[in-house]
C-alpha cells in the first residue's frame, strides 16, 4: 500500500527558527548598543545602574528568541502567511505614512476638509466604486466624528490656513 503524502515542510526562511535567529541577531546588536552607551553605566542614588532594567528587557527577549530557535515549534511557519500575504507590508506601511500625512495636513487645512478628502480617497482605494456613496460615506464620517468630539468638549483643528 502506498504511503499517504505528509504535509509539505515549511521552507526554512518562513519558519519560527529563522524568525528567532533574525530576532536574536537584532537583539544582540541592541544589547551591545545599550551596554556601550554613556547612560547605561550611570550609577543612581540607590546604587542601581541606569541601564539595568532596559538590559533585563533585552536579555528577556533574547531568551525568548533563543527558544524560538530550539523549541518544538521551530519548524512551523512563523506567521499568518495564508491570510495576510507578506506582500501586504508595503500597503500597511504606506497606509500608516498616509495617516501621518493626514494628521499633519489637518493642522493646516482643518479637520472637516482634510478628513472628507482623505476618507474619500481611502474609500476609493478600498474598492467603493460609486462617487455618490463615497461622498455620502465621507460626509457622514466627518459629521459623526466631529459631533462626537464636539459633544465631549474637544476642539478639533480648524486649520491654520483659514485663520
Amino acid at each position: 500500500m502506498s504511503k499517504a503524502p505528509g504535509p509539505t515542510p515549511t521552507p526554512w526562511h518562513l519558519s519560527n527558527q529563522f524568525l528567532g535567529l533574525v530576532l536574536l541577531s537584532a537583539l544582540i546588536a541592541l544589547f551591545v548598543s545599550i551596554y556601550t552607551s554613556d547612560w547605561a553605566s550611570e550609577i543612581q542614588m540607590d546604587r542601581f545602574q541606569l541601564g539595568f532594567f532596559p538590559l533585563v528587557g533585552v536579555v528577556w527577549m533574547m531568551i525568548a528568541a533563543l527558544m524560538l530557535v530550539v523549541d518544538h515549534a521551530r519548524k512551523k511557519e512563523f506567521g499568518e502567511i495564508e491570510e495576510i500575504r507578506p506582500g501586504s507590508w508595503p500597503w500597511i506601511i504606506g497606509l500608516s505614512v498616509a495617516w501621518y500625512a493626514y494628521a499633519q495636513l489637518v493642522l493646516y487645512l482643518g479637520f472637516i476638509l482634510t478628513t472628507f478628502l482623505f476618507i474619500s480617497i481611502l474609500l476609493r482605494i478600498g474598492g467603493v466604486q460609486s462617487w455618490k456613496t463615497i461622498a455620502g460615506a465621507g460626509a457622514l464620517c466627518v459629521v459623526v466624528v466631529f459631533l462626537l468630539f464636539f459633544a465631549i468638549g474637544v476642539d478639533l483643528p480648524t486649520g491654520r490656513v483659514w485663520s
Partner: protein
C-alpha cells in the same frame, strides 16, 4: 462595613443624566463593536479612552464599563448570525449558535446568549463587590517587597498560562518590559533608553500604545485581508435573508422554562469565568472555551455542539463572567489582570484616583460608584441587546472599505485629542504597524501590555525596598514571611509550569515514536 456617606455620594455621582447617558452610549457602542468582526472589547475601550479623560469620573466609568460589557456580549451576535465571532471569546458560541440559526432558531439562540451574558455579569459583579474589599484589606499589609513578588506572580501567571506558543508569549512580555523602560528612571527621574529622541523622555503613553496595538493594528490587518480578498475575487456571502428570517414573527423566542433548563451550564460558565477573570493574563477567551468544554463534558446527555441552547449558555456565561472579576487584582493590588483592566486603571489614574487597596480608604465613593456602574450597566446591556439586536446583526455586514477608514480615523483623532500632541499620533501609528507585525507573526499582545504596566511598578517597588533596607538584597526581597510565602508561590508556579511543558513534550515525542512504529 458600608460607609453610608460615601455610598450616598456614589449614588449622587451615578444617578445623574450625564452618567446614565454615557453608560447607554457605552453599551450601545460596545454591542456594536462586539458585533463587528475584527474589533474587540479592548479596541473599543482603547478608542473611547481619550474621550473619557475630558469627562468627570462617573460618566467616564459609565462609558468604559458599559462599552466593555456590551462588547463582550456583542461578539455573540455575529457568532450566531454569520458563524463569525465578533470577538475571539465568542468563538465557542458559533458551534451551537450557528447550527440553531440554520435550524431556524436564531432568535432563540440570540436571546439565550443575551440572558446568559447578563445573568453571568450580574452574579460575577456581586462576587466582585463581596471579594474585592476583603482582598484589599489583606493587600493593605503589603509593602514594597511583597508587591514585587506579587507582580512577579502576575508575570509568571501570564507566561505560564497564556498563549499556545510559550516562546512568543515570553517575547511579547519582554517587549513590554523593554518599552516600559523607555523614558525616565522611576526613582531618580533621569532620562534613559530614549534613543536620543527628546519627546520620548516622558515615556510611551498607555493610550497611544493601546490604540496602536489593538485598534489600529486590527484595522491594518482587516485592510490587508481586504486587499488579499479583493485580489482573490472573493466576496462575503449575503446573509440578509437569514437575518430577516431570524427577526420575523415566525420564529419563536426563548421561554422561561428553556432558560432555566440551562442553569447548570450557566453555573459552570459563571464559576469558571469568575475564577479565570480574577487571574492575570487569561481573560474571556480562555473562560469561554473552558466553560464550553467543561459543560460539554459534564452534560453528555445534552449533546452540546449539535445546536443546543446549553452550549450557548455555557460559552456566553463564561466570557461575560470575567468582566467584573478582572477588576479585582486592579482594585486590590493596583495590578491589572487584563488589557482592558489596564485601560480602566489608566482612566482612573487620569481622573486622579490611582487604583490600589488604599483607594478603598481614600476614595470609597469612587469604589461604590464603580460597583453601582458595574451592576447598572448589565440592565442597560439587557435593554439595548433586547431592542436592537437586529440592527447590530446588520452591522456585521457593514462593508469593510467603509468600516476600516472610519475606525482608523477614530484612532488618529482620538489619539490626537488625548493630549493634543502629534507625537502621540506618531507613537500610535508606529505601534499600529508593530501590532500588525505581532499579529502577522502570531505573537500575543496581552503579555506586552501587562508587563508594560506592571514592570515599571515592580522596578519602583524593588528599588524602594532596597532603599529601605540600605541596599541589602536579601532583606529587600525576602525580609518578611509574607514576601517569603509569595516568593515560594512564584517558584512553585514556575516549577509546575516547567513540569507541564516537559510532560507535554514527552507526550508529543512518545506519540511521534508510536506513529513511526505503526
Amino acid at each position: 462595613m458600608i460607609d453610608m456617606v460615601a455610598l450616598e455620594q456614589a449614588l449622587s455621582m451615578v444617578f445623574t443624566f450625564e452618567t446614565l447617558f454615557w453608560m447607554v452610549v457605552g453599551v450601545t457602542i460596545g454591542v456594536g463593536v462586539g458585533a463587528i468582526p475584527g474589533l474587540s472589547a479592548t479596541s473599543g475601550v482603547a478608542l473611547v479612552l481619550p474621550l473619557s479623560f475630558t469627562m468627570p469620573l462617573a460618566p467616564a466609568l459609565g462609558l468604559i464599563i458599559g462599552l466593555y460589557k456590551g462588547a463582550i456580549y456583542g461578539g455573540a451576535i455575529s457568532a450566531i448570525t454569520f458563524a463569525t465571532p465578533g470577538t475571539p471569546d465568542s468563538a465557542p458560541t458559533v458551534y451551537d449558535g450557528y447550527k440553531m440559526m440554520k435550524q431556524g432558531k436564531g432568535r432563540k439562540a440570540m436571546l439565550m446568549a443575551l440572558y446568559a451574558s447578563v445573568t453571568a455579569d450580574v452574579v460575577s459583579d456581586i462576587l466582585v463587590i463581596i471579594i474585592a474589599p476583603l482582598i484589599a484589606i489583606v493587600a493593605l499589609a503589603f509593602g514594597p517587597s511583597e508587591r514585587v513578588w506579587l507582580m512577579m506572580l502576575a508575570i509568571v501567571l501570564i507566561g505560564s498560562l497564556s498563549g499556545s506558543h510559550f516562546a512568543k508569549g515570553l517575547l511579547s512580555a519582554g517587549i513590554g518590559l523593554f518599552i516600559g523602560t523607555i523614558g525616565s528612571d522611576p526613582i531618580s527621574n533621569v532620562e534613559r533608553n530614549t534613543f536620543g529622541v527628546w519627546w520620548l523622555y516622558g515615556g510611551i503613553g498607555l493610550v497611544p500604545l493601546i490604540i496602536g496595538l489593538f485598534a489600529m493594528a486590527a484595522m491594518l490587518e482587516e485592510w490587508a485581508k481586504h486587499i488579499a480578498s479583493k485580489s482573490n475575487g472573493k466576496t462575503a456571502p449575503d446573509d440578509s435573508e437569514a437575518i430577516k428570517g431570524m427577526f420575523g414573527k415566525k420564529q419563536e423566542g426563548l421561554t422561561f422554562r428553556e432558560f432555566i433548563s440551562c442553569r447548570k451550564e450557566m453555573g459552570i460558565g459563571i464559576a469558571i469565568g469568575s475564577f479565570v477573570g480574577m487571574l492575570p493574563g487569561l481573560g474571556a477567551l480562555v473562560a469561554s472555551f473552558l466553560s464550553y468544554s467543561v459543560a460539554k463534558r459534564y452534560s453528555p446527555e445534552k449533546n452540546i455542539g449539535s445546536g443546543r441552547l446549553e452550549g450557548i449558555a455555557a460559552a456566553e456565561a463564561g466570557n461575560n463572567a470575567t468582566v467584573g472579576p478582572t477588576l479585582i487584582p486592579l482594585l486590590a493590588f493596583g495590578i491589572p489582570g487584563s488589557t482592558t483592566a489596564a485601560l480602566i486603571g489608566g482612566a482612573l489614574i487620569m481622573q486622579g484616583a490611582t487604583p490600589s487597596a488604599r483607594m478603598f480608604q481614600v476614595f470609597p465613593e469612587i469604589i461604590y460608584a464603580l460597583f453601582i456602574i458595574l451592576l447598572l450597566a448589565n440592565f442597560v446591556n439587557l435593554g439595548i441587546g433586547r431592542m436592537f439586536a437586529f440592527l447590530y446583526a446588520r452591522l456585521g455586514q457593514l462593508p469593510r472599505p467603509i468600516l476600516i477608514p472610519t475606525v482608523m480615523l477614530m484612532c488618529v483623532t482620538g489619539t490626537y485629542a488625548y493630549q493634543q500632541s502629534m507625537y502621540d499620533v506618531i507613537v500610535m501609528l508606529f505601534f499600529g504597524v508593530f501590532g500588525f507585525g505581532m499579529r502577522f507573526f502570531r505573537i500575543p499582545e496581552a503579555p506586552l501590555i501587562i508587563t508594560f504596566v506592571v514592570v515599571p511598578l515592580a522596578e519602583a517597588d524593588l528599588r524602594r525596598a532596597l532603599l529601605i533596607n540600605r541596599g541589602d538584597w536579601f532583606n529587600a526581597l525576602l525580609g518578611t514571611w509574607l514576601a517569603v510565602a509569595l516568593f515560594s508561590l512564584v517558584v512553585l508556579l514556575v516549577l509546575v509550569s516547567i513540569k507541564a511543558r516537559v510532560s507535554e513534550r514527552v507526550a508529543r515525542l512518545t506519540k511521534g515514536e508510536d506513529e513511526q512504529g505503526k
